[in-house]
């Protein structure tokens, strides 16, 4: 209230808003909001994995986290359990 505080300052909502927009817009201006390559990437990954084992499209989970300094792309492929493999062999 008097211009200073002993506690570390939490960014104001306005500062948070500005930062969120800057990060988002940097990504959007660079190459589209939801990169068009993601469905294609998913298809390609599925194709490669399928050469080695049997999976279906439902078992792929793609996650993204866009950051300021760096973004991360996480791809999880659920593999069939042992029982399923056995059933297939039998």
């Amino acid at each position: 209230m008097f211009g200073f505080s002993l506690r570390p300052r939490k960014p104001s909502p306005a500062a948070t808003a500005k930062e969120r927009l800057q990060i988002l817009l940097a990504h959007e201006r660079a190459g589209g909001a939801s990169p068009e390559f993601l469905p294609l990437l998913q298809r390609d990954i599925l194709e490669v994995v399928r050469r080695h084992m049997e999976i279906d499209g439902e078992q792929v989970e793609v996650k993204i986290e866009r950051g300021d300094e760096l973004s991360s792309l996480e791809i999880n492929i659920e593999l069939p359990g042992a029982s399923k493999i056995k059933a297939k062999a039998g």
Partner: protein, 272 residues
């Protein structure tokens, strides 16, 4: 049984996305499994209001066009267990929405969720039409202001004629309820702003809630949080009451005033 509820208004900027976020969070807080779907293709904004804009991978249009499974496009909220967001595309245009595609996605969501909240774009074109077409209920968001009330009346006409329920022709209709937003009791008492009764008399639909004009709405959108998650917000409380009524509870209608001001703020306001 699952319910599809469209949040619509005709006019832009009256609080559809704020309402969609607040209502869906309120439903999830009550333990209902809820998904909120952005129908504003090309102008994605629900993701920002929900605070999940950095995590969008696939969207509604990818699902409609078969490029992704629904499960892959749904974003789980990090604060509420029962809440999911289906973002729209930022790069396509509204023609990417097809009636069959929308139906297929909503049918699949009905299997999974108790409530499906459809955040309609402004206007009455394709996006808005498809957002309301398969709805069971509607929340008509209206400001106590002439152009907003007029547009709401127009939208009510469309809800009663251009929707799947209306086209059945067996007398079934979408249950439409009014949510009066940005209401200012003081200005209404002064006669500067239409009263709740004035708006209800004109639109003649049941009142779901009155959301007071509140600075906490901007604060919540700045940080990407549905306003119902702000315990101190008068608007958040009013939304919670509205959600209670939406699920059939009897909750007395109170006109929340803006947050109580501190002594200094009152003093400053008076001298300003």
């Amino acid at each position: 049984m699952s319910k599809v509820i469209v949040v619509t208004s005709g006019k832009g900027g009256v609080g559809k996305t704020t309402t969609s976020a607040a209502v869906s969070a309120g439903l999830a807080m009550r333990g209902h499994k809820t998904v909120v779907v952005d129908f504003d293709v090309g102008l994605r904004n629900l993701d920002m209001i929900m605070g999940c804009e950095r995590r969008v991978v696939f969207d509604f249009i990818n699902v409609i066009q078969g490029d992704a499974k629904l499960k892959q496009a749904l974003i789980k909220d990090r604060r509420l267990e029962n809440l999911f967001v289906l973002p729209t595309s930022q790069t396509r245009d509204k023609d990417a929405l097809t009636q069959e595609g929308v139906k297929a996605v909503l049918d699949e969501l009905r299997q999974e969720f108790d409530y499906i909240i459809c955040d309609s774009p402004a206007g009455i074109e394709r996006g808005a039409h498809l957002a309301m077409y398969y709805a069971d209920e509607a929340i008509v968001v209206t400001n106590p202001e002439v152009s907003s009330v007029r547009d709401s009346d127009r939208v009510l006409g469309l809800l009663n004629s251009k929707t799947a329920l209306a086209e059945k022709g067996d007398g079934s209709a979408i249950k439409a309820q009014l949510l009066l937003t940005r209401f200012d009791q003081q200005r209404s008492s002064n006669g500067e702003m239409m009263s709740v009764e004035d708006v209800l008399e004109i639109l003649a639909i049941p009142l779901l809630g009155i959301i007071p004009e509140s600075p906490t709405v901007l604060r919540a959108s700045n940080v990407g949080m549905p306003v119902t998650l702000d315990e101190k917000s008068a608007a958040g409380k009013a939304y919670e009451d509205a959600v209670g009524r939406l699920v059939g509870e009897q909750i007395e209608m109170r006109i929340g005033s803006a947050e109580k001001r501190g002594f200094f703020q009152r003093l400053l306001k008076r001298t300003a």
